[in-house]
Symmetry: C2
Subunit: 300 residues, 2 copies
């Protein structure tokens, strides 16, 4: 299969390079890093073994790229307004688009942009960062869960999992809705609260007041998911998320990094859309509504 | 009537000096400013006309003070644990205690400290600050509303209003519960949110997200008051509070000043107690619960 990777940052750069390094045919689209990557290739510094790719199929414009069987979107959702320009040139009639992005409602909105296109949700569990053009620092983890949103070709879906696995990336299928909402249980409290209180995960859990607040916010997400008919997420899952975070080293989620580096925050898909979706179904998330408002105030 | 004033800061210093300047017999209790005030008196720089008091009846210990007919408490509620030491030496059998303090539940807790003592709530509408020992800067406003919590002597209650009025302080009786909750409609959102987002009233109202949030928080207070059977506070009152704040110059509420100057914040009576009282009656204030948790995190 031919892979097209949109974005060569922490996500697209990492997963695309892993696929290319394993021998897959991979074509990268890079806006700002094109010249550097064209000349120097990609360097992946990784806890699982570092490697370098010399010859990269890299393009500055989507129109120059070949049609791809699988298009992997590794952009932040704050750039999703660019997708109508970037994605269509890569599509043939049976292409599958994998969105490795954060939040709730992304697939529904992208499906509206490209009706009929087969979509897969990629939920990455990874700590990685682009440190400079053509350089990705992969600190730990790295697995990817795939949720089938609208992929009609089960064989291709399975092939994507197999290709990731062959590339040394732990990959598995998960139920789409459940996986997205499970991720939101952790993402919605911790991403925003670390920004709102300018802190890290450990201090939020050390203070009894914010520990209680984080749990209340997680329960709001569980309540929303249940109200939407999503099963498999309960109070026990909330407790496990808190226990896992207790065991982590002090951590700044992606939104905190975006805020600290004066980049736009993914407020829309991490807060606005899930709040809207739950509210439309008759369920309110008052504390997360407040967090959204605070983030909009702080968004530079 | 003989007045005892506990605290010579922005509140006790101002109202006590106004009473003394008008000819009332006033005795001040001052912990940290005792020596200065004893020697230099009190200076009130005021928008309504500045004045100086040379000879002040000031004491460092409550035990040295005479019994008073009216004891005015001008401390922050964060010091209310001191009241069992400071108040009883001033009381005779018919003393009335006026609490010029912020928040909800203060009178109930003080009544538990001093069962049978007659309590009056003083709701000050004033911008004043102690700028240095013995100096109060009174910038604007200055009226005081008195709510009868447990004063059995209607004549003394009326005399207090008359004495304030004679001293040039606009004073009136208000219904106790309604007045406390009305004040909370403004106090609960603005005091905490200016701290949470490190800002002033004007910017909170300029941003559409936080303007909405402030209104939602005000409606939580209105809902709590209604649930507790307090009448006379509705959505129209909320709109008027927002309109008044729109018309104000950018303002830092007292909690923001406390936070900026690393003083303890009045979280307990501005948030914890009203949230508890409403919750015990079956009403939740989720956004103000969240604000309380954020403030407890930020409290140094």
């Amino acid at each position: 299969m031919r892979y097209g990777i949109i974005g060569v940052g922490a996500i697209g750069g990492y997963y695309g390079s892993k696929l290319a390094y394993s021998g897959q045919e991979v074509h990268f689209l890079s806006h700002s890093d094109y010249a550097f990557v064209k000349e120097h290739g990609m360097q992946i510094d990784s806890c699982d073994g570092s490697f370098h790719l010399d010859d990269i199929n890299v393009y500055q414009h989507a129109e120059e790229m070949p049609k791809c069987d699988v298009v992997v979107v590794g952009l932040k959702t704050t750039n999703n307004h660019l997708l109508p320009t970037l994605v269509p040139p890569l599509l043939h009639d049976h292409s599958v688009v994998v969105l490795i992005q954060n939040g709730i409602g992304v697939e529904a909105d992208v499906q509206q942009m490209f009706p009929g296109v087969q979509l897969v949700a990629g939920l990455a569990f990874i700590c990685s960062a682009k440190t400079k053009p053509g350089h990705v620092n992969h600190q730990c983890y790295g697995s990817i869960n795939l949720g089938n949103y609208s992929c009609r070709n089960e064989a291709v879906f399975q092939q994507i999992i197999d290709d990731f696995t062959s590339a040394g990336v732990q990959a598995a299928e998960v139920p789409y809705e459940e996986a997205r909402w499970k991720k939101a249980v952790w993402n919605m409290p911790f991403n925003g609260m670390t920004v709102a209180l300018d802190t890290q995960t450990d201090l939020l859990l050390k203070n009894p007041a914010t520990r209680w607040l984080i749990r209340e916010q997680m329960l709001e997400v569980v309540g929303a998911a249940r109200h939407l008919g999503v099963t498999g997420i309960d109070e026990e899952f909330v407790d496990s998320m808190i226990a896992i975070t207790d065991a982590m080293t002090p951590y700044s989620p992606s939104m905190k990094l975006d805020y600290d580096f004066h980049r736009p925050m993914e407020i829309h898909y991490l807060y606005t859309r899930p709040i809207e979706i739950a509210r439309a179904a008759g369920f309110r998330m008052p504390k997360l509504e407040m967090l959204e408002a605070e983030l909009r105030f702080k968004q530079p």
